[in-house]
C-alpha cells in the first residue's frame, strides 16, 4: 500500500445491470444535450456563402451576367441599385431609386440612359437628372471587377455629380 496515498471515498464498484439504468440514462442524456448544443455551434463556425462585405460594398453581379448595353438591378443594403454595362464595355453603377417619387428605374438600351417608367424621368449614366420631373441627380457608385465578381462600392467622399447642368428647368431664361 502506498503510504502517501490519501484514503478517499471512491464510489462503490459498479452495481448490477438493472441498477445502472440511471447512470446510462444520465450519461446518455448528457451526451444528447451536448450534441444538441454542439451541433448549432459547429454549423455557426462555418462561414456562410454570402459574405458580409459591410453596408458600403456588395457583389452586384458576376462577369458575364450582363451583355454590353444592358442593365441589371441589384440589392445594395436596403435599397436597389442599377448596374449597367455600356456599349463601350464600361461598368457603371448608380442608385436605382428615382428622386421624384421613389419608383425603381431601369436602363434603356435605346436611349443609353436611365429611365423611370412612372413619370418618364430620365437620368444620364453620371446620375444627372436630364429630363422629366426628377428634382435631384442620382447617387453614383464605384465599380471594381475582382476576378469573376463585379463589386459595387459606395464612394468614400460624399461628392455627388454636379447639378448645374440640370436641363429640366432653367429659371433664368423663362
Amino acid at each position: 500500500m502506498c503510504p502517501n496515498r490519501v484514503d478517499v471515498n471512491w464510489p462503490d464498484p459498479p452495481a448490477p445491470q438493472r441498477r445502472r439504468f440511471v447512470e446510462y440514462l444520465l450519461g446518455g442524456g448528457l451526451l444528447a444535450s451536448f450534441a444538441s448544443f454542439l451541433y448549432p455551434v459547429l454549423r455557426y463556425l462555418v462561414p456562410p456563402r454570402t459574405p458580409d462585405l459591410g453596408s458600403d460594398t456588395v457583389v452586384a453581379a458576376r462577369v458575364g451576367d450582363l451583355k454590353p448595353n444592358a442593365g441589371k438591378i441589384f440589392r445594395f443594403g436596403n435599397r436597389p441599385g442599377l448596374l449597367v454595362l455600356t456599349p463601350e464595355k464600361e461598368y457603371r453603377a448608380l442608385a436605382a431609386t428615382c428622386t421624384h417619387l421613389d419608383c425603381t428605374m431601369q436602363y434603356r438600351d435605346d436611349l443609353h440612359q436611365v429611365w423611370c417608367a412612372c413619370h418618364n424621368g430620365i437620368y444620364d449614366l453620371n446620375g444627372r437628372n436630364v429630363s422629366g420631373p426628377p428634382p435631384r441627380p442620382l447617387e453614383t457608385y464605384d465599380v471594381h471587377v475582382r476576378g469573376e465578381e463585379i463589386i459595387v462600392e459606395r464612394r468614400k467622399t460624399s461628392l455627388r455629380t454636379p447639378c448645374e447642368s440640370c436641363s429640366h428647368r432653367k429659371t433664368e431664361n423663362a
Binding site: Y44, D52, G54, S55, D56
Partner: protein, 361 residues
C-alpha cells in the same frame, strides 16, 4: 483499472491531484429552509460562462465600426447558420444575468451572509455587480441600432451631470463630445477585453473567498444549531449539491433556449446620428429605476441642480451598499435590523420605480 482511474493517477503523480481536490470532497453546504437561495450565485456564474461562450462566437462575425456594426449583426441574424440563436441567447442571458446578480446580492443581504468574516466576499461581489451593469451598458450599444444609440446618448448625458468631473467623464465615456463610432470602439474594447479581464479576476477572488470561508448560515439558524447541534444538517458539495446545481444550470439553459427561439431579440433599425430621437427613449430595464427617479426629481431642489442631486444620491447609495458589512457592529441586532430594513426599502423602491418607468407614458 478503468480510464478515469488511470487519468486520476497520472494527474496525482504529477500535481498531487488527490491532495488538491481533497478539500472539495470535504466541502459541505448547509441545508435549511433558505437553502434554495444558494443556487443564485452559481446560476449567475453559469450565465457568465454562457456569455463568454456566445460572445466569443459573436466575435467571429461582428464588426465594431459605426458603418458596419448593424449590418454585421444583421448578417449574423440572417445569414450565419444558427446566428440568430447565438445572438438571441447572448442578449437574453445578459438580461437574466443582471437579474440573477441582483437577486443573489439581495439574498445574501437578507440572509445576512455578508457579516464577519465574509466582508471582502461582499465587496468583491458588489464590484462584480457594478461590472455586470457595465457589461450591460457597453454591450447594449454594440448592435448600433436607433434605440441603443439614443439610450447611450441619454445615459452618457446623465453621467455628464455628475458634479465636478461630469464633463470629463462624459468625454471619456464617449471618446469625444458626441456619441460616434469612437464611442462604439471604446465600448467594444470595454465589453470584450477590459471588463471580462477584471470580471475574471474578481470571480476568481470571489470564489476563492467563498471556498475559504465556506457557505454561511443565517444568524438565527446559526443560533439554533449551536443550541441543538444535532439539528445541523449539511449536504456534501460534491456530488450532491453539485448535481443539484447542474440541474439548476440545465433549467437555466432550457429557459434561455426557449426565450431565444420563442421571443428572439429584435434588431431594430440602423442608428442615424442626425435623425431626431424617437419618442419614448428609455434605457434597459435594469437602469430604469434610476432613469425614472431622475425624471421625477424637479429641475432644482432648493439651490441644487435636480439631476446632479439624483446622481449624487445614487452614487452615495452605491457607496453605502459597497461598505455595508463595515457599518454593522458585530453582533448588534439594531444595526442588523436597520440594514435589513434598508434592503427591503431598496428592493421595493427599485421594483416600484422600474414598473412605474414602463407604465408611465
Amino acid at each position: 483499472m478503468n480510464v478515469f482511474a488511470r487519468v486520476r493517477d497520472w494527474l496525482d503523480e504529477r500535481f498531487g491531484w488527490a491532495e488538491m481536490i481533497a478539500p472539495l470532497r470535504k466541502k459541505t453546504v448547509p441545508q435549511h429552509r433558505y437553502s434554495y437561495w444558494y443556487y443564485l450565485g452559481g446560476i449567475t456564474l453559469f450565465l457568465f460562462l454562457v456569455q463568454v461562450g456566445t460572445g466569443m462566437l459573436l466575435l467571429l462575425y461582428y464588426k465594431p465600426t459605426a458603418n458596419e456594426a448593424f449590418e454585421s449583426v444583421q448578417h449574423i441574424m440572417t445569414q450565419v447558420k444558427f446566428g440568430w440563436l447565438v445572438r438571441s441567447i447572448h442578449s437574453w442571458a445578459a438580461n437574466l444575468m443582471v437579474f440573477t446578480a441582483f437577486a443573489h446580492m439581495f439574498s445574501v443581504l437578507f440572509l445576512h451572509a455578508y457579516r464577519k468574516p465574509r466582508e471582502l466576499t461582499w465587496v468583491s461581489g458588489m464590484a462584480l455587480l457594478f461590472l455586470v451593469m457595465g457589461f450591460g451598458f457597453s454591450g447594449y450599444l454594440l448592435p448600433w441600432n436607433t434605440l441603443a444609440f439614443f439610450a447611450t446618448k441619454v445615459g452618457t448625458d446623465i453621467a455628464g451631470q455628475v458634479p465636478l468631473i461630469g464633463a470629463q467623464l462624459k468625454i471619456l465615456l464617449r471618446g469625444g463630445e458626441e456619441v460616434t463610432g469612437a464611442t462604439l470602439t471604446r465600448f467594444f474594447g470595454l465589453h470584450v477585453a477590459l471588463l471580462p479581464g477584471l470580471t475574471t479576476l474578481l470571480i476568481a477572488l470571489h470564489l476563492a473567498l467563498v471556498q475559504k470561508f465556506g457557505i454561511s448560515v443565517p444568524p438565527s439558524l446559526e443560533a439554533e444549531w449551536s443550541a441543538q447541534p444535532v439539528e445541523r444538517r449539511e449536504m456534501k458539495f460534491f456530488p450532491n449539491f453539485f448535481l443539484r446545481e447542474l440541474m439548476a444550470w440545465y433549467i437555466a439553459l432550457g429557459v434561455l433556449g426557449a426565450l431565444a427561439a420563442l421571443a428572439p431579440w429584435e434588431l431594430g433599425t440602423k442608428a442615424d446620428p442626425f435623425a431626431p430621437a424617437p419618442a419614448g427613449i428609455r434605457p434597459e430595464w435594469y437602469f430604469m429605476f434610476m432613469f425614472q427617479t431622475l425624471k421625477l426629481i424637479p429641475a432644482k431642489v432648493w439651490f441644487v441642480d435636480g439631476e446632479a442631486l439624483g446622481i449624487l444620491t445614487f452614487s452615495g447609495a452605491a457607496l453605502v451598499w459597497l461598505v455595508l458589512p463595515f457599518l454593522e457592529r458585530e453582533g448588534s441586532r439594531r444595526a442588523r435590523q436597520w440594514l435589513f430594513g434598508a434592503g427591503i426599502f431598496a428592493l421595493a423602491y427599485m421594483a416600484v420605480m422600474t414598473v412605474y418607468g414602463y407604465v408611465a407614458k
